[in-house]
């Protein structure tokens, strides 16, 4: 069990509630004035040199947002957010937009190095040995701007566009216009509308017809500045028969106040295309008393627009004070497939309300949901999911499995599935269990000489195995470590 021993060792080295990405990078930055108004929207748009249509789009969203009320239906509690007390734009002064690596502020590069993010091409992700042939293209987003995008040239040769969304708006307006807001409409929900008005940066991926993206694409999000909200926007389009695997990672410094992260991610898969989207979410979760941490209110949705297309979401959620997101699949094309694999670990005072929506619209569409929730400390962990078959979704098929594990008697685990079938030939199966680590399993491990921490790590890793297997290898190792760290202090 080398991997397990490693996680246990790692856990030992760390004090309770120590978040290893919690440092602040001291870098001069330029911010928009505090608060939100039409002027701020114009300011952001101007900063990004956006064309007129984009500004109009943002302003429409902003006006719409003013008429909306904050949703309150989720099982999370937090003090009211003062949207006028946030900075909506913050950028390192030295970097006005993504450029070549040589021009990037060395301070920033040092930060990414510290985070283990390979910005120098041909470097490999930390933590994996003997994988030197594997390369990952990275788009690094720091507060409100994309700092650098690696491997751009090589990707371009394959016809793949991978760049910051602000760049795409300028360079590829036709594609952006066609797809932006087509999966998550501007009016979708309170936070998506806010994002549409003030989104600052994020990644844009376009895979042309028949192309299998030659490497993994990755975006690394970092919130650095105090009191800023990060509003990233990601748009991924896979044309007919294309394939792409995309990874997303995120961290933030430790701060006493709560910070808002309200992202929108849109995926479009046309005929026979496949998109695999993996997230390791490790925003700062707050300290052991529940102070500080990120509010992660995210709208993620994929549209299987073409026949036989496939979208797969994999997420490992260990960070954030509050996680509130439902990566979803609209299974519009006939024979399209949606998948959702999730591990949500909550400890301390973290609150998680996450799950997925699988909307079966086309014929013979299939979906699969595997969700593993682990609650420890004083946290609350809710799975909320919707599976629906519309009238015309003949032959739709869903299998859902959501299991929850409780560690300690101060936490809560909740399951709220919604199943809506309007088609007789749609076959839906849902199963869910909640339990604690069985005494006999623990006893078995202890009796064979494992310490109780090792035993819990072993059992938990077994519990989440189904999901870990779906992650790209680099992430699987990282995720396993993260889970152990998140559960630190919860045993005994």
């Amino acid at each position: 069990m080398p991997a397990i021993q490693e996680t246990v060792d790692q856990v030992r080295q760390i004090d309770v509630d120590q978040y290893k990405y919690g440092f602040v990078t001291d870098i001069e930055s330029e911010r928009a004035p505090k608060g939100l108004s039409e002027d701020i929207v114009r300011f952001i748009s101007a900063k990004k040199n956006e064309p007129e249509w984009m500004l109009e789009w943002r302003l429409d969203a902003y006006r719409r947002w003013l008429t909306m009320t904050e949703p309150a239906w989720s099982r999370v509690q937090y003090p009211k957010i003062d949207f006028d007390d946030l900075y909506y734009y913050s950028a390192p002064k030295s970097t006005s937009g993504p450029k070549s690596l040589d021009e990037v502020d060395p301070e920033l590069l040092a930060m990414y190095e510290k985070l283990g993010i390979p910005l120098r091409e041909r470097e490999i992700l930390a933590g994996v040995e003997g994988a030197s042939d594997r390369r990952v293209a990275v788009d690094a987003v720091f507060d409100s701007v994309s700092v650098v995008t690696t491997f751009k040239e090589e990707l371009k040769k394959a016809g793949v566009i991978f760049c910051a969304i602000s760049e795409a708006i300028r360079e590829y307006p036709e594609i952006v216009k066609k797809y932006l807001g087509s999966v998550v409409p501007v009016t979708d929900n309170f936070y998506a509308t806010l994002n549409s008005a003030v989104f600052s940066d994020g990644s844009f991926v376009y895979i042309p017809e028949g192309v299998r993206c030659p490497m993994e694409l990755s975006t690394y999000f970092r919130i650095n500045e105090r009191n800023t909200g990060q509003f990233e926007r990601t748009l991924i389009i896979a044309e007919k028969g294309a394939y792409v695997s995309y990874l997303e990672g995120c961290t933030a410094p430790m701060r006493d106040e709560n910070q808002l992260h309200a992202a929108v991610v849109e995926l479009v898969a046309l005929e026979d295309a496949e998109i695999k989207y993996s997230t390791v979410q490790n925003w700062y979760p707050g300290d052991k008393d529940g102070k500080g941490g990120i509010y992660n209110f995210v709208t993620k949705r994929g549209d299987c627009r073409g026949d036989r297309s496939k979208i797969s979401w994999t997420q490992v959620e260990t960070g954030s004070a509050i996680t509130w997101k439902y990566p979803s699949c609209i299974l519009r094309g006939d024979d399209s497939q949606g998948e959702f694999y999730s591990i949500a670990v909550s400890n301390g005072y973290q609150q998680v309300d996450s799950g997925t929506k699988m909307l079966h619209l086309g014929k013979n569409t299939k979906s699969r949901i595997i969700s593993k929730g682990i609650a420890a400390g004083r946290s609350d962990n809710t799975y909320r999911g919707l599976v629906s078959a519309h009238r015309k979704a003949s032959g739709a098929r869903n299998f859902t499995n959501c299991d929850s594990l409780l560690i300690g008697d101060k936490c809560g685990a909740h399951t709220v599935p919604y199943i809506e079938s309007k088609n007789a030939s749609a076959v839906f199966e849902h199963e869910a269990t909640t339990s604690k680590i069985a005494d006999d399993q623990l006893f078995y491990c202890l009796q064979r000489g494992l310490s109780s921490e090792e035993a819990v790590a072993l059992i938990v890793n077994g519990f989440v195995k189904d999901v870990i297997q779906q992650l790209p290898m680099e992430f699987a190792v990282e995720a396993q470590k993260l889970i152990s760290i998140s559960l630190e202090g919860s045993v005994g």
């Binding site: 101060k410 685990a413 599935p417 199943i419 007789a424 199966e429 869910a432 909640t434």
Partner: protein, 437 residues
Amino acid sequence: MNAEPRILRTQAEETLALEFAAARTQLPGSPAIAAAREAAFAAFQKLGLPHRRTEPWRYTDLRALLRTVPPLAIGTSGDDVVVADLLPGLDRARLVVVDGAFRPELSDLSGLDGVTIRPLVDLLRDGDTRVGQQIAPLNDAVVSLNSALMVGGVAIDVPADARIARAIEIAHVTSSAVASHVRNLVTIGADASVRILETHLGPAGSAYQANIVTEATAGDRAKVIWAKLQSEGDAAVHLGTLAVSIATETQFDHLTLMTGAAISRAQTFVTYTGENARAGLFGATMIRGKQHADIALGVDHAVPNGASRELFKAVMDGRAEGVFQGRIVVRPDAQKTDGRMMTQGLLLSEDASFFVKPELEIFADDVQCAHGATSGEIDEDILFYLLSRGIPRAEAETLLVTAFLAEAIEGLGDEAIGDAFEEIARNWLATRGQEAA
């Protein structure tokens, strides 16, 4: 929390406000009950009729479904009512409640030695404090409406140690197109054993609305079998609620069979107040045409060592909509709770729908809870197997559907009631396709 902007009242809500204002002086009860009525109606007005955003009512949008409200039934009418026997062959005592009024002359109380039966009106006049106790924490608009407008029903007291061999039926009958608000109170003493049968019926084609709330308590080690048959008239609205608390080592088995009414909702709330209690909750829905039937369940494991088993089956034909919303709550101290909930829907036609929301809300770690849900049509392979053995299609389908429902019906563990209910299921299947969809 955001203040929910209160939308303009619907026509039905307006009518109810007018009716309550006109009826408040005629409604029976002590001054305390009258004050409780006012409070309940205020609560109802605050909540309004349940709608899509009322989470526990998500799939039964009464604001849209209840366009009008017929006149209230207040202590009158139904003199010439004929009470049909839905369960011939099942021996039971019978308490008949017509439009909310207990009718001893239509009832059969033999074999109930030791059991006290009183019209609920008597309890209301006495200001009996047990009325309203079980439903107090519910915060449900339909229950509040019942508390404001209840006109009667029956109160059954089963003393401690009583063993009542004969099943006790409460037959709820609505005589004409009225809105009736019935309240029953059932108290079962420690170590008692009793079988309760709740039936609901009314005239076909009559757009009446029946709102029935039954409050029950079961004492320590009591054994209770409780079956409900909802066979209302085809144009009716049925809103039935049972709120029961079970104590130490109580064994409570409950079955709901839903087959009548245009719009129906059966809510069952079970609260565990003593350890080592066990509840079995079962349901079978058979609907077709444009019927809408909703079974809602709330199981509150408030103390340790409770067990619950839930099995709900629904068969939808025509354009019918079946709904199941179940919620198991395990409170922080309710360690060693064992809860299992299963819901299965069978869609017999292309246009039928099934909506399920089985919730688990768990705050204790040493528990075993699971739920499952499935939805689909009759398995073609199994059907083929039967067809290939010379069984005609209709018969094969009947066989499979009966077997599907039987699992839930037999879960009750009472052979006589189970057989009678299965007979109803077979009759329903026999008339399949004869009614206009």
